[in-house]
């Protein structure tokens, strides 16, 4: 077996692993990063940018939110059910982390709150401008995947600092001696085992979004049935399992909920087209929330989870479709194309012909309900009631914004099932505010750290959308915190 020796070992080279590796190296430690893919960045390659509070960009834009305010908001949102000290340390570091990234050469397009829309319907109308969207290196509008530019700069920075990368070399387990983490066993592409020893080990493997068994076991959702989350290949829960095996305490795992169509990236036009404040019902045909809120993907994901079968249906009629085509959609999200309805017919016809299962079209409400699997009597009754309220100009039930009280009356009718989705998993490994792994008795396991999604236990039950960019934000900042502490420990040791 090949033997290696270093100060700090980082398991996986995603966003949190890169941050940890760079921070440790900047603080004088010799660092090795083991990664099972051949590319750095992990799930962050699909993302757009991190949270920051008090960054130079925010100051430039006169966004006065302070770290202390962000901390209070976060704790209020999570009802103080999460580790306040961890949350505090994270927000107080986050602004400087943006500066740290800018020093590496990362450029940001600007700072955003989650999505923009008319005031009353704004997805996160009480959200703060914390989302630092990464600017693509060669220009062009930022969109999904634009955070790769950040991954690249971070990878270059790590290499410049002498961090050694072992690509396609997954870590199999943590070596523990006398209660202390002293290294890892890894296996390279050819199956050769490597024993790497270090003074500190940082786990950063990105959760278990791509592990249906673990999703079932830890959260109760069934992948492809009650949840259609992003299953970013490789997110198997490796780090969480390794940590638990090494004696780490269990922190409750949740799925970072939103909602989407199954296989939504291949049906992106429909994903956006039906994300409109039209008529939304559950399997019984009943409305379940004011549709002007559906741009809030977190709330809507939660609401759909509470419906029978964990599904909802978004319905509009030909008149509404005509209006969308002419005047544009009522709600434009940040992630969907602006000219959605220019491409609607092509995609609709194609997907209908291919038998894309979540969608259907009907000449009558009854036919639509039957095709969609909604209770026809319930839906007919609901449509009747809804149309009457549209006529009266007021939603007596949920007080939905009047502008969106548009009747469903002219066939053909269009329906698209909405499923619970998730960006991935969060949580699993119990840590303290230094990101040191704790055992079930809340005692530190010396030498072992866990960061990023594997140890993101600060969200409570839902993604804190009021401070957007939180997923990447926590990855970066927890990674940095771990890297700094690990380096300190390694030098002292």
């Amino acid at each position: 077996m090949k033997q290696l020796q270093t100060d700090v070992i980082v398991v996986a080279a995603g966003l949190s692993g890169l941050a940890a590796g760079i921070a440790a190296a900047e603080n004088g430690a010799e660092v090795m990063i083991f990664e099972k893919s051949n590319t750095t960045g992990g799930a962050a390659n699909m993302g757009m940018g991190p949270l920051g509070v008090g960054s130079p960009i925010q100051k430039e834009h006169m966004i006065s939110l302070t770290a202390g305010e962000a901390f209070r908001k976060h704790m209020y949102y999570t009802h103080y059910r999460v580790d306040a000290r961890m949350v505090r340390d994270y927000y107080f570091k986050s602004g400087e982390t943006i500066e740290w990234l800018m020093d590496m050469g990362v450029e940001f397009t600007g700072v955003q709150r989650a999505f923009s829309a008319p005031e009353a319907t704004r997805a996160y109308s009480d959200g703060e401008f914390t989302w630092h969207v990464v600017k693509p290196e060669g220009g062009g509008a930022p969109g999904p995947r634009c955070a790769t530019a950040m991954t690249k700069k971070m990878t270059e920075r790590a290499k410049e600092l002498g961090v050694k990368f072992y690509m396609e070399t997954p870590v199999v387990r943590v070596i523990k001696e006398d209660g202390r983490a002293v290294g890892v066993i890894a296996k390279n592409r050819d199956g050769e085992e490597i024993e790497a020893r270090a003074k500190a080990v940082i786990l950063a493997t990105g959760g278990f979004g791509d592990n249906p068994e673990m999703i079932k076991e830890q959260t109760g959702y069934e992948f492809g049935k009650t949840i259609f989350n992003f299953a970013i290949p490789g997110m198997k829960g490796d780090g969480i399992k390794m940590a638990w095996e090494a004696g780490a305490g269990h922190a409750p795992c949740t799925m970072e909920l939103m909602y989407q169509l199954p296989d939504n990236m291949n049906h992106f036009i429909l994903d956006g087209a039906f994300r409109q404040p039209c008529l939304w019902v559950n399997r019984n045909g009943d409305r379940f929330m004011p549709e002007d809120q559906i741009a809030n993907t977190t709330f809507t994901g939660n609401a759909i989870t509470a419906q029978p079968g964990c599904v909802a249906y978004s319905i509009f009629d030909s008149k509404l479709l005509k209006k969308y085509k002419k005047k544009g959609p009522d709600i434009i999200s940040h992630v969907h194309p602006h000219d959605l309805f220019d491409h609607f017919d092509d995609q609709w016809e194609k997907d209908l012909a291919d038998g894309y299962e979540p969608i259907c079209q009907g000449d009558t409400i009854e036919e639509l309900a039957e095709k969609a699997g909604i209770d026809p009597v319930g839906l007919e009754k609901q449509v009747e009631e809804y149309n009457e309220m549209c006529e009266a100009g007021f939603d007596e039930i949920f007080e939905k914004d009047r502008a969106y009280m548009q009747p469903i009356e002219k066939g053909p009718f269009y329906c698209c099932r909405q499923n619970v989705g998730a960006y991935g998993s969060v949580g699993g490994v119990r840590i303290n505010h230094k990101t040191q792994v704790l055992n079930e008795e809340a005692k530190v396991i010396p030498g072992l750290y866990c960061v990023g999604t594997d140890a993101c236990n600060i969200f409570g039950d839902s993604y804190p959308f009021i401070l957007s960019g939180n997923t990447m934000g926590f990855c970066l900042n927890s990674g940095r915190i771990a890297g700094e502490h690990a380096a300190e420990e390694a030098v002292e040791y």
Binding site: K36, M46, E137, R189, P233, G234
Partner: protein, 696 residues
Amino acid sequence: MWLTIDDKQIEAHEGMTVLNAALGAGIYIPHLCGHPDLEAVGGCRLCSVEIEGMTEAVPSCMIKVEEGMKVTVHGSKAEKTRKTAMELILATHPADCTGCPKYGKCELQSMYQYLGVGPEKWKKKTRTVPTDDSNPLIRHLFTRCVRCGRCVRACRELRGVKVLDFQKTEDGVRIGTDGNISLKEAGCKFCGACIEVCPTGSIMDALGQISEDVSYAEGVVPCRTACPAHTDIPRYLRYIKEGDYEKATAVIREKLPFPETLGCICSHVCETACKHNELGKPLSICKLKRAAAASQSDEWKKNRKTAAPTGKKAAVIGAGPAGLTAAYYLAKKGHEVTVFESNEKAGGQCRYGIPAYRLPDEVLDREISDILEVGVDLKVNTTADTPENLLKQGYDTVLIATGTHKGVLLPLEGNNLSGVQLNTDFLKHARRGQISDPGKKVMVLGGGNVAFDCARTALRLGAEEVHIACLESRDNMTASIEEIEEGREEGIILHSGYSFLRITGDMKVQGVELQKVDKFYFDENRKAIIELIEGSQEIIPVDHVIFAVGQAPLGTEKLGVELYHGSYVKVDSSFSTSLPGVYGAGDVVTGTKSVIEAIAAGRQSAIEMDRYLGGDGDISEELLEKETADPFLGRTEDFGSLERLYPSLLDPQERKKSFAPVEQTFTCGEAKCEAGRCLQCDLRLNLTNPRLWNEY
């Protein structure tokens, strides 16, 4: 020759491309159509650079180096060309990276990360091509194809198989076979080179082919991974194909000291794992091994190494496959090894369990003498002292490898009658020539290979009528299909799916009462549930009954080590028993398993024991020089449809009269032909992995 790239002086050879010169000097230039093992074609434009004296950016893969050439990689023109090229690629490439199995291992992903381009600049138009799952082993997801042509060049030029090509279709150019026929019909050799060179997720291994629980190399070559001793199967099959039995044997011997024994009787899990199963029948790996090993070449001994004496002493209790394998490797590490065997000959179950018509004495004798040759001291007819006493007597370590030599007697009415025997005793006595009268009519109870060993042995000793009865239905019997079939040919009467009610008779066996099983299954508590068909009882008149329903360790209670499940020796993951310095391996630890598993355990325990004795635990050896396999395969018409060959068998009426080996060795011609069917799954691992930007 010297040239300058980005103000850095680098040396290059005449005829080299600028791209290769730069990459060789550690300067990264993105490239997609180029691949280290393939000729570049200048198609992707990602490798564009500026060269002094040329007005436009040019693809560096198409320009040969010249003395004094001045190349700029990061010039504005070159960067612009590269970025535009990448944007155009991304404009037709689906954005659903999260659903792509190549995520994280995709060259395109790495390259757009490097180029930092946004996907939003060009109007996106995904060219949808239906995913083709109809071919075995290889999956085509051409919606993700970037038309770099690497697969075409790998298939046509590197491998010479000439199956894939660019095909013009209504929806544009795509990759496929001429006439859009299946890969098998087109003569594909399923070597996987196309999968290996594909920079995106367009050509992938079929779903479920590559295990995610093992390393990439292990997943790609499943036979080698499945073999408990990890013999390098594709490598020795290549030598057999060339008729080079000496080298083939040496390859096998790098991992185990019993090639011919295994060639006769191995349970060959490798064949179950063989990817050829997806095309038809797996390679006849086991019998090919026999063909090679039966050549009795001693060439491999030339490179066999034995370390200088360490002065340490090891005792091995039991000269079966586990014990002898451990002894062999311990002796080669320079330790003084004594093997204690209570029987008169070494071999364990290979000798006293497996009948000679399956594994002849000469084969065992030959392979055991090769083991003893490296300095193993074998003491037969010697019952070893307890491990504790052996340690006291000066042995530094002890291995318990005593196997399972105690037959199991079912609690059945009549099991004490005269004429009832146990599998272990019966086979051992038969091997020693101590059975003069096996009985006229014999009933063997049990459905495994050992039941057939007993039945066919009884037949050869002169029994007139031999029955086998077992609980399992024929399809669920643990005996191999070959055993069942060969037994049938010899006239064994099989009663599968029967429960044994009792053995009838007064003092002597007179018959066995059976009842037909309706259902036989294990409930949620893993308890066996047997439901019988009422009124289906019948008595088969026999004068002898042999129990062949499993076997257990014998005499382990006297060893002074911790046991589990009654009589099995308990060891930890490093083969160590509860007594420091005392190890356990083989059937005595695991229960009755295959010979190859015992050998693998012998190797593993030797590694642990060597470490315990202060060694490095490295028992790997190279018995022949590492060769590089020829990457060129060429065409073989109907390759995918070639039928598996089977060794010929002695005539059933002849063979049941004697203990002569039933199965013949493959002739050299047969062996070459059968080995030629191997897909050589390991070949794709020899392809160079392109270095990505983050590796520079």
